[in-house]
């Protein structure tokens, strides 16, 4: 069963599953989860080196760098200026010019700042970054991000790490319907069901971290999510039946034995 490929900024991706690299029990489970997930795009954060223990958290040392596309995020930024600075540092590493713009001023909800996110997206796109902004599910904002040069838009399903799933399927569906760039649902999903739900709404992919990293069995969950992405995409392409209020028999009522 072949599915059409996802293409972002000219790069063809064979997986529609983007995986985060935070909060795993240990690097070995993380790498096994990454392997099983078949994810090609991995996200990271940028932080200061801990000068007392420099090698801690040096996440990339555990990975075969050639086989992935790296998507650093600007987490920790509370405005466009900070996000732009982090993006430039990430790019200077030489491993990727992709950037997930993530700007939040509210530590309780970590919800993205629409104004600052739009500013940063415009600036970074003009600097030649491949910009994937994490945004609210506001369809108008998503259109503006696209116009500002976003290579894809990444509306959240629910606040980061909540596992609440897709709070507003209507908006996500509307964004998928109207966008001219790929739509990747980012944040808030909790289970394989949530993934299939958004994929059936027509989005192009899903970015997840906590639901895999914090599952009882992260590796098996990575497998479940991989299958869910494929199931949801295939279901979307296969074209579901319409909903009906009343029942329809799967065999005719002619030739009944007892009539």
């Amino acid at each position: 069963m072949k599915s059409s490929k996802l293409v972002i900024a000219g790069k063809e991706l064979s997986s529609r599953f983007f995986l985060g690299t935070g909060r795993y029990p240990n690097p070995f489970i993380q790498n096994e989860a990454i392997r099983i997930s078949e994810a090609e795009v991995l996200t990271f954060a940028i932080r200061r080196v801990n000068l007392d223990a420099p090698s801690e958290d040096a996440i990339l040392q555990h990975l075969d760098q050639d086989s992935f596309t790296y998507l650093p995020n600007t987490s920790g930024a509370s405005n466009a200026e900070e996000a732009i600075r982090i993006a430039r540092l990430a790019k200077a590493s030489g491993i990727s010019n992709w950037i997930k713009v993530e700007i939040s001023a509210d530590e309780k909800t970590l919800l993205p700042d629409p104004i600052e996110t739009l500013k940063a997206t415009e600036t970074l796109a003009n600097e030649g970054f491949v910009v994937l902004p994490y945004t609210s599910d506001d369809p108008v904002l998503c259109r503006k991000l696209e116009e500002a040069g976003a290579a894809a838009v990444m509306p959240g399903g629910a606040p980061i790490g909540t596992g609440l799933g897709v709070l507003n399927p209507y908006n996500i569906g509307l964004i998928a319907e109207e966008a001219n760039v790929p739509v990747i649902v980012d944040a808030g999903l909790g289970s394989a069901k949530d993934i299939v739900e958004v994929m059936e709404l027509g989005v192009d992919g899903v970015l997840m971290n906590t639901p895999v990293a914090k599952a009882k069995d992260p590796v098996k969950m990575a497998h479940a999510m991989k299958l869910a992405i494929e199931a949801g995409r295939a279901s979307y392409e296969a074209g579901r039946i319409p909903m009906k209020k009343y029942a329809t028999a799967s065999s005719g009522y002619t030739s009944l034995i007892s009539r």
Partner: protein, 65 residues
């Protein structure tokens, strides 16, 4: 001399940024440097002279979503 590295005062003997990076045994790491707000590429480390009170950032990638 005294430098402000990653937001903290540090006493480091160094002439160039490379000396600073070496001081923390970070040459082999995928570390990115910023001096007084300017990003300095790896190949400029040895030609970047550091002076007292300079603000230096040494950053790297960590796990994130």
């Amino acid at each position: 001399m005294e430098l402000m590295i990653n937001g903290e005062k540090q006493e480091v003997e160094a002439n160039t940024l490379l000396d600073v990076v070496s001081h923390f045994n970070l040459e082999s790491h995928l570390v990115v440097t910023e001096v007084d707000g300017q990003i300095i590429d790896r190949d400029q480390w040895d030609q970047t002279t550091v002076k007292p009170e300079m603000k230096i950032e040494l950053v790297h990638f960590v796990g994130g979503g």
